[in-house]
Structures are given as C-alpha cells and as structure tokens.
C-alpha cells in the first residue's frame, strides 16, 4: 500500500512539471501588461519600462522560466506583482475557505446523488427515475452563476434565511456555517447531477447480474440486495467520479465564490487574471494543480478500500 502510494507520488512529478510549464507559457501568451494596472492609465511609457525592469519582466522568457522552476522547487511561490505580498501567505489565507466549500459540496453531491441514483435504478422508469433524470439534466444545464443567483433571490432576498454576502461574518462559527449553506448547495447540485447518473447506470448494470437474481431467489430482503450486493459492486465508478470531482469542484468554485462573495482560490484567480498579476496567477495554478493531482492519488488509493479486487501492490 505504502509502496503503491509512493509510486503514484513519483509519477505525479512529471505530470506536475508538464502542468507548470504549460501554466508558465499560457500566462505569457495572454496579452496584457501588469504595468497598466499598477501605474494607472496616465503613466508615461518610460515609467512603465522602468517598472517592467524592476519586476523582472524585462528578462528573457527563458531566464524567467528557470527562475520560476527554481523557486517552485524550493517551495517558494514568490511575491505578487500587484501587491508585493508573499503569494504563499495569500493562498494559505483563502485556502481554508475553498477547502471548506469543496468538502461541503462534495458531501451535498454524494449524500443526495448516491441515494437518488440507487433509487432511480431500483425503480427504473418509475417516478423516482424520471425525477432523477430531469433533476440531473437541470443540474447539468444550469450554469453556476444562474443557479447561484436564483438561490440568492429565493433564500436570501425573499425568505431572508441566509446572507447575500457570505464573507460578512466569518468569525462566528454559526454565521460561517450559515453562509456556507447556499454556496455548498449551488456547487453541490452540479455534482449531484453527475453522481446520480453514474450511480444509476452502475446500479442498473449490477442489478442485472446473476448473483443479484441468486440473492433475490434466496429470499433476501430487497434493501439488503440493493445496498449490500448491488451497490458495493457499483461503487468503483462512483468513487472515480467523486474523486475526479474534487478537482472539478476546485475549478468550479470560481463562479460560486464570486456569486456568493466568498473569499477563496477561485476569486483570487479572477483578481490575478484581471490585474495580469503573473506571479500570483502562477502560484494559484501551481496550488490547484497540486490539489488535483493529490485528489487523483487519493481516489486511486480508495479503490483498494472499496473493492478488494483492485490490487494496490
């Protein structure tokens, strides 16, 4: 098990290197100039050139690349071009909010999605199935900013149950949890859609197997047949989706964080992009890439736990 984990980690290194290189190149392909943001639109060309020099943007792309890789290798993300603050501390200060949102959405997605999928497969073409299909289609087709605004209009503006500005009070734990409900629902619903579909199809396949017929003919109660026999066998694809979704959620958190005014990695990415803050953007991409790779490794490790047939050696 340990050996397997180590091997996976080692394999992650070339992946990360490739991702970092792509990030570095992509960011520099995007046209734009951070000096306009920093100096304002009335500054002279001379002042801009001086600033570019100072920020190290005047160096050749290749030496910027070497500097970048050298820094990352030393666990240093550098300083933000726009604010000059260390990027690591900026990222660490918002990371808990993104993790909190991602985990909450993951729970929402799994807790609603899995039972809905099982129910849909069990009562195939019945009401539950129809509902699950419509619901997941709706979930897939609603962009997060539309569903987010709808949630806000209903629950914050009309019913006044939850705040519009999620970041208004993050010190009080109850308030913080209250502010998490709508964003987690919004982000989680997207995942419910996928999880429901995967669970449903996995369950349909499992329920058609011979051993299910055997179990049923033994006279086992339906609940045991469905959950203990069929569901365990349908779990691997579900775990895959949930695991992959950890990465997707971090990416999708951007929209949800903006609509609900939550601090987080996503919101920081947008700020960095708008300000052409290359170093901050790079730092954020690095952190996100690490998170996705880590999520994938965790998923691989979970397979072994869920299904003993998957060998980790």
């Amino acid at each position: 098990m340990l050996k397997f984990a180590l091997k996976r980690l080692l394999l992650a290194i070339p992946t990360l290197w490739a991702v970092l290189t792509i990030v570095f190149v992509l960011i520099r392909i995007v046209p734009g100039d951070p000096t306009i943001v920093i100096l304002g639109d009335q500054a002279s060309e001379q002042a801009r050139a001086d600033l570019r020099e100072k920020l190290g943007l005047a160096k050749s792309i290749f030496s910027q690349y070497i500097d970048f890789m050298w820094q990352i290798a030393h666990g240093d993300l550098g300083r933000s071009l726009a604010t000059n603050r260390p990027i690591m501390s900026d990222v660490l200060s918002v990371l808990p909010y993104t993790l909190e949102l991602t985990l909450a959405s993951l729970i929402v997605g799994t807790v609603i999605g899995v039972p809905l999928g099982v129910l849909a497969a069990e009562k195939r073409d019945g009401f539950a199935d129809w509902f699950a299909r419509v619901f997941s289609l709706a979930g897939l087709s609603f962009p997060a900013f539309v569903s987010g605004i709808l949630l806000l209009i209903v629950f914050s503006l009309k019913l006044r149950w939850f705040p519009v500005i999620s970041s208004a009070n993050l010190v009080d734990p109850i308030e913080r949890l209250r502010a998490l409900v709508l964003p987690a629902l919004n982000l989680g619903l997207l995942m419910v859609a996928y999880v429901t579909r995967v669970t449903r199809s996995g369950m349909l396949k499992a329920l058609g197997e011979d051993y299910i017929r055997t179990a049923r003919s033994k006279g086992l109660p339906s609940r045991i047949v469905v959950w203990r026999h069929a569901f365990r066998n349908a779990l691997v694809p579900v775990v895959t989706v949930v695991g992959l979704y950890l990465g997707v959620l971090i990416g999708n958190a951007v929209l949800t964080e903006i609509v609900f005014n939550r601090p987080g990695i996503g919101k920081l990415i947008v700020t960095a992009l708008n300000q052409r803050d290359y170093t901050l953007l790079q730092g954020l991409m690095v952190v996100t890439a690490f998170a996705v790779v880590l999520a994938n490794i965790l998923t691989d490790l979970t397979y072994g736990l869920v299904d003993p047939r998957v060998k980790t050696e």
């Binding site: 009335q42 149950w161 970041s167």
Partner: protein, 517 residues
Amino acid sequence: MKRHVIAAAGFLLATLASPAIVPALADTVLNIGMAAADIGQIDPHRATTTQDKPVVSWICNGLVRFKPGSASLEQLEPDLATSWDKSADGKTWVFHLRQGVKFHGDWGELTADDVVYSLKRASDPKTSSFSSDYAVIDSIEAVDPLTVKIVLKKPIPSLLGLVANYHGGNVISKKAAEALGADFRTKPVGTGPFMIAEYKSNESLTLVANKAYFRGVPKTDKIVYRFIPADASRDLAFLSGELDIVYGGQDQRWVDRMAKEPNVKVEVVTPAELSILHLNETMKPLDDIRVRQAIAYAIDRKQLAAFKGAATAIPAVSVVPTGYLGTDETAKLFPYDPAKAKDLLKEAGYANGVVVKSIQTSLPTMLTAAQVVQSQLKKVGIDLQLEVVDHQSYHAQIRKDMSGATYYSAARFPVADVYLRQFYYSPSIVGKPTAVVNFSHCAVADTEIEAASVEVDAAKQKELWKTAQQKIIDDVCAVPLYEQLQVWASKTNVDFGYDFKAAIHLGPVITELTTKH
C-alpha cells in the same frame, strides 16, 4: 434512526436559517458595495481606478479641497491650508497651514515638512502616477512649521488644483510613509475623517472614524467597503439591506430598475466620462482626411446618447469633456450628415466601401457603444472591424499603436490642459518614450497647448484652448461621441451631509457629517 436523522437535519437547518442576532445599535456602520474584486492601489499618489479613488478621499486632505459634492475647480475651499498668497507673476505661492491637525493613530501632528514631503513624493515618477502634473514645480520648501512655499518654473492654469485633495495633492504623513515602506500601499496614513482599520484582500476594507479629525468627530463610526465584482450579487446585497450605498456603473436600465425599489435613492453624478473615437492618422485608410471627415459626418451623437440612456448619457460637446476649465462648450462639431459622408468616401476613392480596424475591449459598457458606432458607420459604407479582446489586452495593444480607430472613455483632472496634453499633444503619441494616450498621432494643436499652459491671462488662455479644440476637431484626430455620467444608489436613510451631485473622486465623499438615520 431515519427519523432522528431527519429531525436533526431539520433542527440544524432551522437554527442556521433563523435570522442573525442583531448587534447592539451603538455604532453607525456604512456598508458600501463596489464593483471590483479587490483594491488596486490605495497609496494616494498611485490610486487611479474607480474603486481606489473614493477611499483616498475618506483618508486624506489636501491644502485645499473640492467642496464635497462638487467637481468644480471654481469651488475649491480651504482644507489643511487656511489661507494662501501668490506673487504678482503667479510663480510663487505661500500656504499657511491649519494649526493642531493630527495624523491618524500615533503619527503625530501635521507640519509643513509633511506637506513638502508629500508634494515631492507626488512629483517623483518612482513613487507617483501623477508626477508629470508636478513637473512644473521648481521648489517646495517649509518656511516654518506652518508655512509652505512653492515656486513654479512658469505660471500654470490651476496651481490650487495641484494641491487639492485629489491625486498628487493628497497630504500624507512623512513619518508613516518612511516607517511603513512597502506596507504604506495598503495602510496609507493621512489626516482625513476616516482611517484604515483592516484590509482583507479580495473581500473588504474597513475604515474607522478618526476621532481627532479637525472638522469634528465623524458621525459615522465605521465604513465597510466591500468588493463585490458580480453585478447581480451586489444588487441583491443592496436590496437585502446588507449594503447602504452601492456602485451602479453607468447603466440606464439599472437606474430605471433601482428607482422603482422602495427606500432607494439613485444618484446620477458628474464628472462625466467622455467617450471618443480616436482615428490613427498614420494608418491607412485613415491617413486620408476625407475618410476621417466621412466618419465624423456618419456619427450620430444624439442616437448614441439615447442608446446609453437619457438619464445617464449626454451628447459630447467637444474633444474635451464638458464642464472642465477651458472646455469649448460651443465647439463646431461635424453635424450628422450621412449623405455628405458617402460623397467624401467616393471622393477619396472608396465608393465601394472601406475597412477600418479597431481593437476593442470586451467590457460590455464599452463594447455595446462601439457596436452602435459600428452600425452607424456601416450605413455609409464604412466597415468598422472590431477585434474584441479582454480589457487588459485592449489597454496593452492600443498602446502599441496597433489600432486604427480606438474607442476610449476617460475623465481627467477638470482642466482642459490635462486632457489636451494627454490625448492630442505630440509628445504623448503612443510608441514614444513620453507616450500617454495620444492614439491618433494628433499634432495639430501643439503650439496652442504649449502657449495656453504658460498664459497668465485667464481669458487669453481660454481662447487658446478653444482654438486648440477646434483645430483638433477640424483635423478629425478624434470624433467625440457621448458623455457618460456615473451612477450610485443609496438607501434613503443615508444622509451624506451635502448634496451628492458630483464625484470628482468617482464615488461619494464620506465626510464627518455623513450618517445613517
């Protein structure tokens, strides 16, 4: 078991959904919502964006100040200086400072040294974005702790404007700036009614009242300035009562919608941002003046203003925004005459139409207006090809002289000189080391612009500016389009303490009198 889970979940939801406990109503807190993801630069000598400038106006004073609610240089009033004298030649100015003014926190009392330091800092390109405005200053010195003497290289249109509470005129604490170093950019220290208490990046900036403010203890205890980039969320937060004042952008539909809400007051304020189509005189086919004239004749300013909305936009009057010191409010612009435009094109050899390239921002408020211009030009056979890129790329590319027709909106310090110098003066042509925003390569009014800046006689100076504007219009360096007013909304219980008609700082000034009833 199932039932317990449901009951527990229900209880949890009920607890979470119950309205928050209202804190004791001891403090007056103003919640202000801004359309930005974060502050840009709140160092007073660096702040240029819409989200930054209002903050500086709450923190800092100048030697003189714009009367709250006014954006006119004609209505400047004493601020940190109680009085001033100027020499007969207009070159030497002596300011007498107010006694006993304290900086925020423990940064001590204001002296002439701080004023000298601030103005020198504003003149230095390494520390200021406005240094070129101050290049005219020859020397600044502290005569005694309460007297500052400024000597100019030449007399200028409005020295008081340079020492007002605006851009480089904001006075900061020398001790604080030196001690805080790089941190000063997020913790500027001034003498104003509010001081920075807490900055949460990407979230909010909290300011608290400066109890030692020289005009009296502010009636508002705290300002929470929230960065809410999503328009819909910002509006919802305002309507749900989580914000007291909200930035409305420049949108007529927004004005109409908000005006219908109960307890909401919509304010449409000056100064206007002038939108102009700059025509690159060095690029084909715009190097032919007949093509440029055709564009000028083909544009219907009234239709553009109507498109942007009757309450929020007005047709442009000149190549300088209306209301500035020196704007020619009766400049002879090209009338809307599509037939004439077609004739001119034919004359220039483009009877079958002509293509003009334009790099255009994807920012919706600017893009939609550019599309109206595009359709107006299409009617006479000019194909304005918009190459739409994101806003930052647009800013970068137009400065590399890549655009034929450049649609640009801007407000500047309200003196014609600044606008003329940045947009139509040859040293400001894009690509030059001294470049600012002269996208058209306009150089027809250099003589008048230079002469006006040293002219002592106010009437003669205005005459020179007027000539300059007419020359620029006639050469069609640029076609003025429309002027866009700014929109804010506040809850009716917010009392600014003055009539909020104008916002030179691009947002409401929160003074010691501003409060919530």
